[in-house]
């Protein structure tokens, strides 16, 4: 099921779905589709070695939280295929990117389009903040900064068991403000966890706005290197740069790819709201209508009929 479409086409498909969804719902995590479209498209369409999905194309409703009285509990990881030794694993560390991740699952044929219609609906497993029972998720990451540590532990464990599959973590740049991120890199370097891979959406924004106005994080590439990772910085909208970056030798060290991105890539009208793009809720019917027409034209689709 790989490579039937180019990664650029998949990225466009992701943006179209997130755009349509955000228009219908008068808002959403829209800018994350702009910044991360290529990264998630590249991971799922080319780079990750995944088996066929083991869960139904149309997601099942929420089936309860883990507890001794819920013996059939399972996570949403089955959308990424079975957890077999040879396959890769992926965590979406910033769980608010879930909408973009679900759109990706649809674009690569791992979830039915109906899945997105269940987004944030009561009783659905397709949660707004990706939960571990949500499609494509294996662990809860809504509390930011824990994903890379879990990835490091899983990678170390898999390496010890001789599993060839890699562990990937998709990260956001806000996460570098949390101390735990640095503890994770330190541990991964110390223990030589080179089957751990991260790609970070460096869109320079967080909830309050531009990262530099909230908490300056400085030269994170140098920081990651100093903490012991191999770190490559690329244009996060350039798929070839991703292919090159992942070839970087990193024996005995985790590989971290910093994907520098724009939060209004392919949707230039969103720049009007820059740098407050973390969650786009249209401020008026007029703004919603203008953005609908403008973004639809940019993405080569008809404006969304959101009146009903």
């Amino acid at each position: 099921m790989r490579n039937e479409r180019t990664t650029e086409e998949v990225a466009l498909g992701i943006r179209r779905r997130v755009f349509e969804h955000s228009m219908r719902n008068n808002g959403g995590y829209l800018s994350q589709a702009c910044s991360a479209g290529e990264q998630l498209a590249w991971l799922y369409n080319e780079e990750l070695k995944l088996g066929a999905p083991t869960l139904p194309m149309i997601p099942k409703p929420f089936e309860g939280v883990p507890s001794p009285s819920n013996p059939d509990y399972h996570t949403g990881a089955g959308y990424n295929g079975p957890a077999a030794p040879e396959f890769d694993r992926l965590f979406i560390a910033p769980a608010h990117y879930a909408l973009v991740a679900y759109a990706t699952l649809i674009e690569v044929g791992r979830m039915a389009p109906e899945g997105l219609e269940m987004f944030n609906k009561d009783g659905s497993s397709v949660e707004m903040i990706g939960a571990e029972h949500s499609p494509g998720m294996e662990v809860h990451n809504g509390t930011l900064g824990i994903g890379l540590s879990t990835g490091a532990g899983l990678a170390w464990g898999r390496k010890r068991r001789g599993e060839p599959g890699r562990t990937w973590v998709f990260m956001s740049d806000g996460e570098v403000q949390e101390g735990q991120t640095w503890e994770a890199v330190q541990a991964a370097a110390f223990h030589g966890i080179d089957n751990l891979y991260a790609i970070m959406d460096v869109n320079d924004q967080q909830c309050d706005g531009a990262m530099s106005s909230v908490m300056e994080v400085g030269d994170i590439k140098t920081k990651f290197r100093t903490f012991g990772a191999v770190c490559v910085e690329i244009d996060g909208h350039d798929v070839q740069a991703m292919r090159d970056a992942v070839a970087e030798p990193h024996e005995g060290r985790p590989l971290i790819i910093l994907a520098r991105t724009s939060p209004y890539r392919t949707m230039p009208i969103l720049e009007e709201r820059f740098p407050r793009l973390h969650y786009v809720r249209f401020k008026s019917e007029d703004e919603r209508a203008r953005m609908n027409v403008s973004i639809a034209a940019d993405l080569g689709v008809e404006p969304v009929d959101y009146s009903h």
Binding site: G27, F62, V65, A95, D122, G142, G145, E178, C207
Partner: protein, 334 residues
């Protein structure tokens, strides 16, 4: 029709803090989500952005306390104690710093699921020596929370409601007291936070069923006036029922149970809340129904307590408010 107040915290905090040089507003990248974005823009010299780095923020606030400031920390409640619990203990609670911990989105008021829902914070805070605990249940309490918290000589944990908040009361929080909302003599209902509005929804249906309810609302959970509660328990025939937006272990239900056990009060107690379970993501009304935190759950609890069935259904209860997920008064994002 109930009066709804839009963003009461935004106005109340600004009115309280602006111009008081000893009060500082701290935020961890959730400034508009905690309704202090206007304050940040109009009073930048009293605002400190600490980024998404809660552990540092807690000890930093402890340091500010040492320097004589009274920091008001703003973030979602869940991010203010789970990860930075050690810092909360060592830098704030033990030395009794005057840090005001403004925890937004208590319990199931957020659709963000397990990682966003503070469902055991009261239990944790109750077991921390030196901690005071306040919880808001309406707009008037949100409007008076800053003053109430700042009257305490030590750290204060506050559960704060945001967005569109109903006005249920007309007097401010008086720390250490409890509100007596009805004075019946069959059953004592004890609620806090958003569960008080739920209990009020059931009021007329229960009255029609011939039940005389005594209803207490708690805005102060610690310190607690045990004798006042015992007096109320003494004036009802059947027993006590608690309803809280929290797990039943360690919260208001436990507080009432401990008070009764300590005094040897031999009446039945039913504790409603999250029953030793995590919650998941969804709308507030849906989650309150799913986990049994709403008016109907209270009615069922009362049926259990009295051994009677009243045949009350959702249709007999006063209408629930349904919040529009994308209403403009709702703060930015999760």
């Amino acid at each position: 029709m109930m009066e709804m107040v839009s963003r009461p915290y935004a106005r109340a905090f600004e009115a309280f803090a602006a111009g008081n040089p000893d009060i500082l507003c701290l935020s961890a990248d959730l400034t508009s989500s905690c309704e202090v974005d206007g304050f940040r823009d109009r009073h930048p010299d009293q605002f400190l952005s600490l980024g998404m780095a809660e552990q540092n923020m807690m000890s930093f606030a402890g340091g500010l306390g040492l320097a004589g400031y009274r920091p008001f920390i703003h973030t979602f409640g869940v991010f203010m104690y789970r990860r930075p619990y050690d810092q909360l203990m060592a830098s704030i609670a033990y030395p009794r710093r005057k840090v005001r911990l403004m925890g937004f989105l208590p319990g199931v008021t957020t659709p963000g699921g397990m990682t966003h829902q503070s469902i055991e914070d009261i239990s944790v805070m109750r077991s921390i020596p030196n901690m005071t605990i306040l919880e808001t249940g309406d707009a008037t309490e949100v409007e008076s929370i800053c003053e109430a918290a700042d009257s305490i000589d030590g750290p204060v944990w506050c559960r704060v409601l945001r967005g569109s908040v109903p006005r249920l009361f007309d007097t401010p929080i008086r720390v250490g007291e409890m509100r007596e909302l009805s004075s019946g003599d069959d059953i004592l209902v004890v609620t806090s936070g958003i569960c008080t509005e739920e209990a009020m929804r059931a009021r007329s249906a229960l009255a029609r069923a011939g039940l005389s309810i005594r209803h207490l609302h708690l805005h102060t959970i610690k310190p607690f006036d045990a004798q006042a509660l015992l007096d109320h328990i003494g004036s009802v025939r059947h027993g006590v029922i608690t309803l809280e937006n929290h797990v039943t272990e360690g919260g208001v239900g436990s507080l009432v149970a401990e008070t009764m056990a300590d005094a040897g009060a031999g009446k039945r107690l039913i504790r409603l809340g999250l029953k030793d379970t995590y919650a998941h993501g969804g709308s507030r009304a849906y989650l309150m129904r799913h986990y049994g935190l709403d008016a109907l759950a209270l009615v069922e609890g009362i049926e259990d307590l009295t051994g009677q069935a009243f045949g009350i259904t959702e249709g007999d209860l006063d209408a629930a408010r349904v919040d529009d997920v994308h209403s403009l008064v709702k703060a930015e994002a999760l």
